[in-house]
Symmetry: C2
Amino acid sequence: MADPNLRSLRRPTIRDVAARAGVSTGTVSRVVSGSTRVAAVTRQRVDEAMAALGYQPHAAAQNMRTNRSRIAGFLIPDLTNPVFSQVAKAAESVLAEIGYGLFIFSSDRSERREIDFIAMAAQGRMDGLIVSVSDEGNERVRRALSRVKIPMALWDRDLDLEADVVFSEHARAMRRITSHLIELGHRRIGLITAPTAIRPGRERVRGYREAMGAAGLGPDDNLIRCDMQTTEYGYQQALELLALTPRPTAILAGGNEILYGAVRAVRTLGLSIPDDLSLVGADDRLLSDLLDPAVTIIERDMREIGRTLGAMLARRLEGPSEAPPRHVTLTSEILMRDSIAAPAGPV
Amino acid sequence: MADPNLRSLRRPTIRDVAARAGVSTGTVSRVVSGSTRVAAVTRQRVDEAMAALGYQPHAAAQNMRTNRSRIAGFLIPDLTNPVFSQVAKAAESVLAEIGYGLFIFSSDRSERREIDFIAMAAQGRMDGLIVSVSDEGNERVRRALSRVKIPMALWDRDLDLEADVVFSEHARAMRRITSHLIELGHRRIGLITAPTAIRPGRERVRGYREAMGAAGLGPDDNLIRCDMQTTEYGYQQALELLALTPRPTAILAGGNEILYGAVRAVRTLGLSIPDDLSLVGADDRLLSDLLDPAVTIIERDMREIGRTLGAMLARRLEGPSEAPPRHVTLTSEILMRDSIAAPAGPV
DNA sequence: CACATTTGTGTTAACGTCAACACAGCATTG
DNA sequence: CAATGCTGTGTTGACGTTAACACAAATGTG
């Protein structure tokens, strides 16, 4: 009667298992880790003892002894944005295959929270890191990252760090769709996108400028809005762009949140797409599909991005992590739908 | 020249800091934990030594010694569903306030992955758990949870466990909107929602049945579709419902993913809302806002849910966790918009 | 059959931290 | 001024695990 009570009082350790199975702690450890050879009979006795006691290895003790946590971290700006959650989910499942958990951390674009998370990594809570910082120019965050001595994979950020990198090809897709609009006859094309403080914003603006320049359309900075990537910003800036005279005949919404805002602005003004305005979105499959007409978008394969990030990190977590940094650029596609057309009126 | 190299070879420990500051390891530990009193001069000397060496406490060693990880876990079915990511984000920020990290784990509705995650909790990797299992009937998962001896908060699941609980009031909202449709003249109302293996599905079906029964409309099980909560299922079942004769004049899409599928089905069939069909959705703010006409939805405050879950867990993580389980039910609201109207034709 | 190799297991000493204990020095009190 | 309490710090021994080492027994080799 006292026995089971005593047993449940304290969680069983490897020593309790060893005693019950009549073997040494070393042998139990070998059974738990499964790496070295153990006689079949012994293994079974130990397994039985573990089951009987409800033994669970103490993760912290293992981590301390082996200096590994079997956890990777993923730093993202905002968990509720499908772009991030889809990538994170794909990376998570790749890492799960090699027995790693993925600690996804949403910084809400706060420097404080980003640095807190990086500190957790520096304290040995994670063996590797996937990173998408909210501001490439933040030197404090960059320095914190540079001090963390674990393998790292960067996603779509230009940081001077010893790390693998996955880029998306924003500029090329933006150049192509802008050229396409110009061919249709558009001359005044607005662009709303993420800040140039992060690579996606920078690249999208670059692609747009290149296409405009190649068509001999002088740069009109008033048509470029790139300060924030929020729905509210997309809404405000779309309203402002559509209040200009002459009014732009097309708007490129570079980013899913911005697209949502732009659509709302179009609805507010009662404009008809594509007759009054051609609209292009990005990184959204849900809304762009279901709106009427469906919206032309620049699309990336989020699962491919996540899998690539996960695989890059997995390679360094498993093997020796000495290989030189890898650098992958994944393409974006343009999904042509009915939200773009030649501009109305005299060209 | 040799000194800095030697130093960077191995990460500094509390002993290195103690030696450099000329104090004992105990004192350094006191400075790190910040709990006990340390003389101001001493504290400063230790802080300087830590900064100079780039010391970071070794999390695994702390965890092992204190038997706490300062990490909570959140088990959800699918990270990419905004319902879950919004709740998780709110819970994360509440727990961050008390210095806890939140390990969000997306099971993809796989028993295997759910049990793996629960095992991680059982191994001491987490001090507390927020749980939304994908199938309440899964006894293996329930048993695994019951063996984890850490504070738990359940979200919208009916499990016989010693845990705090946060419920949403699905049935009442569903009853009200169904009654409202009946008052408008609808007689054949389809319902597509989550499986009754989880509480939200069960409750929604119950509310619907109660309203239909109260109006003397005999239960027609053919109008109830509750096997999965996916976009594809919503699409298929909406198509099937709309192929019945007589055709339902209203459809309740209980769940955001199902709503997306239902909207697609409506588009496929070229039906007009609300003239040909009244449509009600749930748990979606993005699409229902931007569609034309905007869709009436049953809405929950996801941030409130997340904050409540986080606060409940925080209370047990901070103080003594002996208090009896708490049980909170949060209301749902109905957001009336233009997707519902009286049915066309002879009533 | 002597010797080398392989296989399986026990022993032991850390890993880095913190909590309990001890105690010196100083302030406070009657 | 002796007795008492308080503050601040040093000492020490786990916490639960694994890796290195040692070695006995079993197997293979010439």
